[in-house]
Symmetry: C2
Subunit: 172 residues, 2 copies
């Protein structure tokens, strides 16, 4: 029995595919046309394509909890070195879940929820929370600048998206 | 001087924000309304919101190179344990870049591009490529099932999205 979420995927996708133009959208090449990538949060209130103006085929979109550049490093290197992107937009957002807990809180909660049997897998798992939003953007920019895996030619900029207004602003 | 990519972000976002309804979209709560998460690839040819029927506020969307569940584990645990999601859709896709190289290829290419100075940072970096698509979906499902951090109650399903037709199909 499919779940409601699975049914929604199938039905929504049938509708999407019926208006999909195989001769155009279906022929887009693998490497992003506009040669850039976006790193942002998995947050349900962000629709990167609409909010950041990304057309189909334009850019890689990497999303994880907090929009962490550190967590995204593997994907960024693949995007830049194997698929030819040359620019990074890093977008974190207001009211992010990562502002609400510490690593210690998270470890304790997960162990309380799932039992002491998870200790081994939890050990060394850094949830990468952050206490202050703009500083977290700056820290991620500094991380990317310091990494030898991201060469100096790659343009990197940091932004904050406001989930209350839909507006993005640059972080100095 | 902003780059063309940065200008596009600012201009597209102004347009988006001007039709953003603060009283509705701006008031969506942090936890996803439909309590699920999607793990999919960063590929530029995938628009998860449109192709998979995800409305703003419905679901966490985690994206990385290849749509790797292993790479997404930190985000999945935060989504499930701290933000209340209870279901996972794992969606890989046809013509994925991860089908086209081995870890060894990638390491050699990155070193050739960036110089021997990157060896230290590259060491131990698993690019998580895969040689066969459906098997990669099954391997990720098995990884999630085996992880104690993903409890048995979490419904997990695997899918393949066809970038040529816009259609999604379940992986048995």
């Amino acid at each position: 029995m499919p779940t409601a979420v699975q049914k929604n995927l199938v039905i929504s996708n049938e509708k999407y595919a019926s208006s999909f133009t195989e001769a155009l959208e279906g022929k887009l090449p693998l490497p992003p046309a506009k040669k850039y990538l976006v790193v942002t949060c998995m947050d349900a209130r962000i629709d990167p394509a609409s909010a950041f103006g990304i057309n189909l085929g334009d850019a890689h979109v990497i999303r994880n909890a907090g929009g962490s550049a550190k967590d995204a490093l593997r994907s960024i290197v693949i995007s830049e070195q194997l698929l030819g992107t040359t620019e990074i937009l890093l977008v974190k957002h207001t009211d992010c879940g990562m502002l609400t807990f510490s690593n210690n809180d998270a470890h304790q909660l997960v162990e309380k929820n799932l039992g002491a049997g998870v200790q081994e897998e939890l050990k060394g798992l850094d949830f990468l929370p952050f206490p202050e939003l703009d500083q977290a953007v700056k820290d991620d920019l500094a991380f990317l600048e310091a990494s030898r895996l991201i060469p100096g030619e790659v343009a990197v900029s940091g932004w904050v998206y406001d989930v209350g207004s839909g507006k993005v602003r640059p972080v100095a």
